[in-house]
Each structure stands twice: as C-alpha cells, then as structure tokens.
Symmetry: C2
Subunit: 310 residues, 2 copies
C-alpha cells in the first residue's frame, strides 16, 4: 500500500561519548523513509532541502525506493541543520545549534500522485505544516500516524491539539505524554490523550521500550533490545516510527494484533539505528538482518505460562 512520509530532511552534527561527526545526513523523514523501505516500496516523501544538500543523499533515498517528487529543493538556500551533544548516559542531550534555514517558511505541496496515499506518517514538524498536509489529501487515508515533541506543546498547543484530533495514532515520549495530559501515571495520561482524538497512543520510553494503548483499554508493551553499546540515539524514534508504519502499510491491516507486530518491527529498526552514527546502519541492512533482529525480540520477551515443569 502507498505510504506518504512528511518531515525534515536535514544535516546533523552529533557528538556522543563514542565520537563526533561533521555534518551528516539526518532528519525525521530520512530515518522514517529508510526504515519503512525495508517493509514497503511505495513511499512518497514530502520535505524541503537547500542547494547544499548532496546529490548522493537524494540518490540514497531513491535506492531505497523513495519517491522524491514532493521533495522541494531551494537552490539558493541552506538545508535545516541541527547539532547536538549527548551526555554519558545517552538519555539526555544538549542542542548546540539549530539553523532552521529552508524549514523556516516550509509550505508542503503534495504532488497529485501523493494525494491518494493510504498510510500517512507525519514526522515531527510545526503542527500547522502537518495540518497543511492532511488538508491536501483527496480521500480519507487508511491510517494517519503523527509524531510531535514538547517544543510544540510549549509554543503551539492550540494548533497541536487540532492536528492530534485528526490522526489515528499519536507517538510521543513518556515526558511528553505527561506534559500533554498533566498526569504522571502513563495509564492515566493515555486515557486523557486518547480522549483528544486518536484511536491509538504509542508512548516511547527510549531504552525502556514502548507502550501501545487503545480506547478499549488494551495495552501492549514492546521492550527495547538491551544493547552492549548505544552508539548514537539520533533518529531512533523516527526509525521506530518508520518500521511501525512501514510494516502496517505492507500488510494493510490496522488490527490491534497487527499493530503489536508492527511495534516490534519498529523496535527492531530503532535498535539498528543506534548502532552507528546517523543513517549509516539503516542504509545497509539485508532482509536476513531484519528477520534475525526480530527473532531476538521474540526470544527476549516470549514465555509460555502454560508449561509447568515438575
């Protein structure tokens, strides 16, 4: 099925306890598209870059089957740039530089061929831009998944709530769920957030896994894979979202059972993403790599309570 991905395509400069990079290719839509490409091939990208973005970055997306007709290129401007430094625990980071550049006045324009897409992934962006994308769709999509962050809760809550009310699945982290709901308990937070519109809420807890809630009070938990080293957490949440919606789009089912499976695939992709800087690990995976990684999740959590050894 067709998948529309909206989000940033960017330059990142990253420093972790393991090393640092110059400007490398990043951005939410980049990670989402790459990750989803291991599950579904009909991916349409909407984003904006400057004239400084390298052709081999665009080629890399094409090589993963990503349609870039909706990728605006502003020759005389510069690509969005973010630089950050992770602390030793890898759970917290300082933003060193944020240059919006082409993103400052980004107006997403959907090519005609994009307007019938069935699965929509709204990567973290200004809520007004996310809304502009939804407004251009010709028909009601099968599933809209939205990512956002605390920044928009602080400065654009009204716009944010309007978008949240129009999506099927919201993905945020635990602190954002608490901020958005005013509830410390994630179970209570989920109930309040689902009352804002979405049918499903995914709360991402980083190294502590992810929770999926629906309106029938069902809950599913997917762990993060315990890794020897987390090399670079940048893009982990987007890789998760890409694997999640990519797997959903490939199967065409939005049942709770299929969402559970899709979260495991998303978690597997996130676990790859953090093993190298930037998109490096996501660029070169085989189907066998993905299958083996998913099996590690099966081994990690599966148990059979019905067996009793005496």
């Amino acid at each position: 099925m067709s998948l529309l991905v909206v989000g940033t395509v960017a330059f990142d400069a990253i420093e972790t306890p393991f090393g640092k990079t110059d400007k490398i290719i990043g951005g939410a839509a980049t990670f989402i598209s790459l990750s989803a490409s291991y599950f579904t091939k009909n991916i349409s990208l909407v984003s904006v870059i400057g004239g400084d973005f390298p052709q081999n970055g665009i080629d890399m997306l094409h090589n993963h089957g990503v349609n870039t007709k909706g990728l605006q290129i502003r020759k005389n401007e510069k690509t969005f740039f973010w630089s950050g430094k992770y602390h030793n625990d890898m759970n917290t980071r300082d933003t060193l530089v944020t240059e919006l550049n082409v993103l400052a006045d980004f107006d997403p324009v959907l090519p005609e061929s994009y307007k019938e897409c069935e699965y929509i992934m709204l990567g973290n962006l200004t809520p007004k831009v996310q809304m502009r994308v939804l407004d251009q769709l010709n028909s009601k999509p099968k599933l809209v998944v939205m990512d956002t962050m605390n920044f928009w809760m602080n400065i654009a809550m009204d716009d944010l709530l309007k978008v949240i009310n129009r999506v099927d699945v919201l993905t945020i982290n635990d602190e954002e769920a608490r901020q958005l709901s005013g509830q410390y308990s994630l179970v209570k937070a989920a109930q309040k957030i689902l009352a804002m519109g979405p049918d499903y809420l995914i709360i991402k807890k980083g190294e502590h896994g992810a929770l999926l809630f629906n309106k029938n009070k069902q809950v599913f938990f997917a762990p993060a894979l315990p890794l020897e080293d987390v090399f670079d957490p940048t893009g982990a949440g987007d890789s998760f979202a890409g694997g999640f919606i990519g797997h959903l789009a490939s199967t065409g089912s939005t049942s709770f059972e299929n969402m559970k499976r899709s979260i495991i695939f998303g978690s597997a992709m996130a676990s790859f993403s953090v093993e190298k800087f930037g998109t490096e690990r996501l660029e070169n995976l085989s189907q066998g790599d993905v299958d083996k990684r998913v099996q590690r999740f099966v081994d990690l959590v599966q148990f059979d309570i019905s067996l009793v050894e005496k």
Copy 2:
C-alpha cells in the same frame, strides 16, 4: 520443595503522595514469605524481632503457612524500624528514620529442620549475616537467590563479593548493577557481574521491568504492569523475589524457561504489592487473583510474529 527465607521482619512508617501510615508490619522477609506463599507451602523463616512485635503479625505469617521456628524474639529489645517518604514520581525516596534495634547484632541460627532446605532466598541484609546462613546448611541447596543493595557495596564490598560468589542468582537494581560492575551498559554490567560467580543475574528496573541474564548470553525481559496508580512501592522488589523463588520452588525446575515464567510470577506479585500500603494487598489474594494478574502480563507482551494479515 522446601524454601528458606532470610531477611528482615520490621516496622515501616511510610509516606507517599497518597497518604501516610503509622508503624505497620514490613521487612524484606515478610514480603518475600507472603509472596512466595501463593506458590509453595513449605516456607521456613529466619529473622529477628523485638518484644514490641505484635502477635497478630506472627499469626499472619502462620496463616500463610510460614514456619517461624527460626524467628528469634528478643523480648526486651525493639524491632527494626524504617521510615521513608516517597517523592511525587515514586521512584525516589528519602529515608527519615533507620533504627537497627535487634538487627544491630543479629546472628541467624538455623533450626536443624531448616538445614536441608533446597531453595534459599537471602533477602537484603549484612553480607556477613547472609554468609552465616549459607555456612549452616548441611547440603548444597538446589538454588540460592540473593538480594542486596548499594549500601553494602559502599561499606562491605569484600564481604559482599564473597557471598555473591556463592549464590546462583543475584537480584539488584539497575543503578546497583552499574555501581557493582563499573559499566553503564546493563549488558556489559551483566557480563562482569556474572563473572563474579552467579549463574544468573536479575536486574530490577522498577516501573521499567526486569532483565534476566545467564552466562550463555541469553537474556529475558519482563515488563512491569502499567498501573493507574502506584500507591506504595515499599516491598515491591521483595514481593518480586518471593514470587520468583516461590514459583521456582513449587515447580522444582531451574531451567531458563522456568526462570522466565517465574520472573513473570514475581512481576505479578510486585504489581499487587504496590496497590496498597505495606503488606495489605499481599495478605488477601486468591488463586484467581494471581491467575488473572498473570494473564494481564501475557496480554501485555505476547505477540505472534508468524501471523501476517493481508
């Protein structure tokens, strides 16, 4: 099979955002024994109390099938007392009062009938006291599980390492695993700690679940149940340990598969424990309550990756 439980029987006074208690019955061995009693009936307790400990506290243990022949009662002394206040996040607490009282010079003496026990649970205590218990056993037990805490790492590391080297399973929390190993990554921490002697390591992450590692690099993850409210976390780790070793003792198998199941039972008991102050919730459970709770863990994490819906 027979289970020997060593640890504190105490008074606790607890303050949480939900309320506060006067002195109520607590202590590691109390929570462990109560929790284990839902799985196995042959439980022998080793601990010490003062003359101020109420008879109905001892009766409560008897009613759960706990043998108290090894519970020393020092009529003219006072029971160990701990008082603490939990912060709003329930993950951190301040200790307000610690009165060691009878615990200050506790010398555990095993009645003859205890010395053949097959399953041993060493609750958190001075390492020297834990060692004294192991030294009195007549035969090699089938499984020794040990709990400890950062306090002993700070003041009695040499003694602690000697006990760790003699046990089969060590249970500690994530921060303690990092302190003991000097490794931030829990995977690396587990490898270093397993090299200290135990065949299995359980790293407890509180609301983020628990990890089980063995020397063959197998790893299993059990989530904590997402609860609307955590009323009182006191004793959650001990309830976990009690359910874990109680289920192991009841089945008599120490296979990795059975350890996985036992960790789920332990997690279920911990989830009950935090629902009310002190031991209240653990005192009054039915087999049906336990079965239903375990089923919630099954529903929470089970998925079938082999099903593909198209």
